[in-house]
Structure formats: C-alpha cells, structure tokens
C-alpha cells in the first residue's frame, strides 16, 4: 500500500478544477478531465470503456473521502458512481498530458465534440 496519497485535495468551484497537493508536487485537474476518465463501471464497462463526450461544461458539485482509500466525486451532470482511489488519482495527475491528448484523439476519431450537444 505504498501508493501516493495526496496531503490536500482542494476543490476550486469557480474554476472547476481539483487540486491535488502531494508532498513534492501539486497537480490541477479539470472537472472535465476527471469526468471523462471516471473509473465508474458505467464508464469503464469492464475493459471496454464508453467514450464520454460533451462534458466541457461539467463542474464538480462536491467531493468526499470514501473509507481510507478513495475519493468520490459528484459531478454536475449527476454522475457520482466513480470512486477515485488514491493510486488512480495519482495516475491521472502524473499522466494528465498524455491522457488528455489521447482523449482528444479519440473524440476526433469518433467525430464527437467536447461541447454539449
């Protein structure tokens, strides 16, 4: 259990971002980025994830710690079934750039958009 656990998690409501503060570095993740990479089974579908589209305007309504191991994020579109483990949050934070580019690529290939339809 030596995965990285943030010291602080700050939800910036107005800028719709989540700030993860680790002892040596801090990361800022957008609500949209977190939303489209939700670990929820609804999204992940057991290894065949459904591409999430039109989430540009999504915000985070609230966040809460689940047990000792994860963060529950409640999004403004009603999605609240994703439990972001500390390990997954760190993975998202540290690979943010690559994952975001990959997501944009997927959107383009699917002919979809970040904007809500």
């Amino acid at each position: 259990m030596n995965d990285r656990i943030p010291n602080d998690i700050k939800l910036h409501r107005y800028s719709k971002t989540l700030e993860l503060v680790y002892s040596d570095h801090s990361y800022t993740l957008s609500a949209e980025f977190l939303r489209v990479h939700s670990p929820s089974a609804e999204v992940q579908q057991h290894g065949r994830p459904i591409l999430q589209t039109g989430k540009q305007a999504v915000a985070i309504n609230s966040i809460e710690a689940i047990g000792h191991y994860a963060l529950k994020i409640i999004f403004s579109d009603g999605h609240d079934t994703g439990l972001y483990s500390w390990a997954y949050l760190y993975q998202l934070a540290s690979h943010q750039e690559d994952m975001w580019q990959a997501y944009l690529q997927q959107l383009k290939q699917a002919g979809k958009s970040r904007a809500a339809e």
Binding site: M1, I9, K10, H12, G67, H68, Y69
Partner: protein
C-alpha cells in the same frame, strides 16, 4: 552512598522486554516518568493496551531490573494503560465514544466467526478494556444467544432515536437480533441491510468503548464490502479453518480489506486440531498449517489457533462462552493471548491513518 541517576534506571529498564511489546519498554516509549529520591525509585509505565492479566508480572519484572542497579533501596513500579483512539476517515473520529473498531470477518460461513468474535470481546474485557460487541450478521444474528441474553430482550430507547446497548457478561452488546424475533429470518436486499447496520452502529449510545468488536456477516459480498467501506473500522481479523476451501475464501476476505485499506491485523485459525473426548488422541481433521500458510503469504500474523473442542460449542450453546465459563481454562488462555496480540498491534498502529485534507474553495 552511590548516587542513582535516571540514566542508570533507564538503562536498566531498556533491558526489559515486555510480552506483546516486541521491544524493550524504553524503546516502546512506554516509560512515562522516572523519579529518584535517595535510593527510592518510582517508575510509571503506560502501555497502549489493557493487560490486566500481565500487569503484576510486568511490575515485578521491572522492579527486579531496577533493584539490580547499585544504590537502589526500593523500587515502586506502576504499570497501567491508556487506549488511544484512532483517527478514521474524514479526519475527525466519526464516533467519539468508540476508540477502536475491530471487524471479525471470514470468507465463508461456519468457520466459527461469531464464536471467535464473542470470545475475543470477552478476552479484551478480561484484560481490563471497555468492550462492546456489535452483531452485524444480519442474516443469522447469533450473538444474543451466545451471550445468554434472553429471547425477547429489547435495547432501551432514548428520545425515540437512540438505542442503549444491552449489557451482558461485562460487555455492551447490540444486535439486529434484538429488533426481530429469533424465528423470522430477515429477507432484505443489500442497501436495506447495510442501511440498517449503519443505523445500528451509529444510533447506539455506546458508553466510552476502548474496543468495539464487530461480528461481520460471512462472505465477501456487497454487504461486507459496503460495511467495510462505510464503517470506520480500525482493523480486521480474519477467521478461517485449516482446510483448503476455507482458506481460499479467507484469502478473498483479506483481499477485500486490502482493497478498502482496512489493515488486516491477523488470522485466527479455528478447528485446527481435534482431540477425541474418548481417547485423547489429537488429529488435524481439516489439515495442518493452513492458517500459517495464508498468514505468511500476506505477511500478516497468525494470532492463534483454537482446537475443535466440544466444550467451546457446548458452552456457547448454553450462553456461557468459554472465556466467561472457564476463566482459567486453556481455551481462555488462547483467546486472551490473541486479544493481547491484537490490542498491542492496534496500540502500535499509527494513530493517524493518512487521509487527505479535503477543502472546497469558491475560486
């Protein structure tokens, strides 16, 4: 006259290894004060776990070590304990009146989980702890019967909102069994069941507990998972029997707790040996060394092994668990040994489980 210094006393104490501490009493940080007044030495040792059964022996051992220091004419050693509360999720302690919650779980039913839970709770109390037991086994609440609580006993109510726990054999007890009749099984779906359990836990007015032992429902299904996620458990004990099929399920239990980051404090192996009541011959009916194997696989301690002894069951059936019925018996010794290992490891555990500080800013 030889001058007795605090340093010399400390050096003498640092040669004393107390049982269950795994280190000497000085390194463990248990020495609270040393006073030297002309040859008379007073030492105060405070441990993090109740150890009534060991107290006199410890005091004697420490006194003897101090008396060996030249110049000491008398040694007064007091050993006592103070159980620390453990911080739980969300930072603040969710239940300030409960310092530690120990979940007793098993991968499958029928391995003696409830028997272990009840006897462990009694053993912790016998060592001087303030202990409660919560029977979370909604499908087969057996704690009331095992504790000899009369059928039809209901917990007291306060403000139509809270329950007062039922006192029995020195424990504070609460069970879903108090709220239903023994003959009606509960036909509940997952969310209802977990909701009911959370209520039972949170709306019971526990009275300043050092330890709350939770007898979990058997298995690793939805209810167990939700429970271990939503209840601020300090640590878990897995009960198993030595046969392969039970061990397989015990592994699942361990994996589940690892997943939700509840520390597994150890494994209790039940029914490890059967001694024939006729001829006295001992036989490992369910196989040998299974508990040990799984413990070493996961790097958790094997806290103890209990024999398949007809008395354990008979006493339980009469509502007099072994630890209560035979306070000096061999079975009780084993349970008390397990209880001490457990509480000592809880005391050593970091008080603050690392949980991020969560804040919401309107910027």
């Amino acid at each position: 006259m030889i001058e007795v210094s605090k340093e010399k006393i400390e050096a003498a104490l640092s040669t004393c290894h107390l049982p269950y501490l795994n280190t000497d009493v000085v390194s463990a940080g248990a020495v609270k004060s040393i006073k030297v007044e002309k040859g008379i030495v007073s030492v105060q040792v405070t441990l993090g776990f109740p150890c009534l059964g060991q107290q006199a022996g410890m005091q004697q051992m420490l006194s003897a070590a101090i008396q060996h220091v030249p110049g000491v004419t008398r040694a007064n050693v007091v050993v006592n304990w103070r159980v620390r509360p453990h911080k739980t999720q969300g930072g603040a302690s969710v239940m300030p009146q409960v310092k530690n919650m120990i979940a007793v779980a098993s991968g499958k039913g029928g391995v003696g989980k409830s028997t272990t839970a009840v006897n462990l709770a009694l053993a912790l109390a016998a060592e001087g702890g303030r202990v409660g037991i919560l029977d979370a086994d909604i499908y087969g609440p057996s704690v009331p019967m095992m504790m000899g609580i009369a059928e039809g006993t209901r917990p007291g109510q306060v403000d139509n909102k809270y329950f007062t726990p039922v006192a029995a054999l020195g424990l504070q007890t609460m069970s879903i069994g108090y709220l239903i009749t023994e003959k009606t099984p509960l036909v509940w779906r997952g969310p209802m069941a977990t909701g009911a359990l959370k209520q039972l836990l949170e709306q019971t007015l526990w009275d300043d507990l050092d330890y709350l032992v939770i007898d979990m429902p058997p298995g690793t299904g939805d209810i167990q998972l939700t429970l271990s996620q939503s209840v601020p458990v300090t640590g878990a004990v897995i009960v198993t029997t030595p046969q392969d099929i039970a061990l397989l399920d015990a592994q699942k239990g361990i994996e589940m707790f690892i997943k939700v980051r509840v520390p597994v404090l150890g494994i209790v192996e039940n029914m490890s040996l059967h001694t024939c009541s006729q001829c006295g011959h001992s036989e490992a009916i369910f196989g040998e060394g299974g508990g040990e194997r799984i413990a070493s696989d996961y790097g958790v301690p094997l806290l103890g092994a209990l024999p398949l002894d007809i008395h354990i069951r008979q006493q339980m059936g009469k509502g007099k668990p072994s630890v209560f019925a035979e306070p000096e018996g061999d079975i009780t010794k084993r349970y008390r040994d397990i209880a001490l290992q457990l509480s000592a490891s809880l005391a050593k555990m970091e008080t603050d489980v690392k949980i991020p500080n969560i804040s919401v800013l309107s910027d």
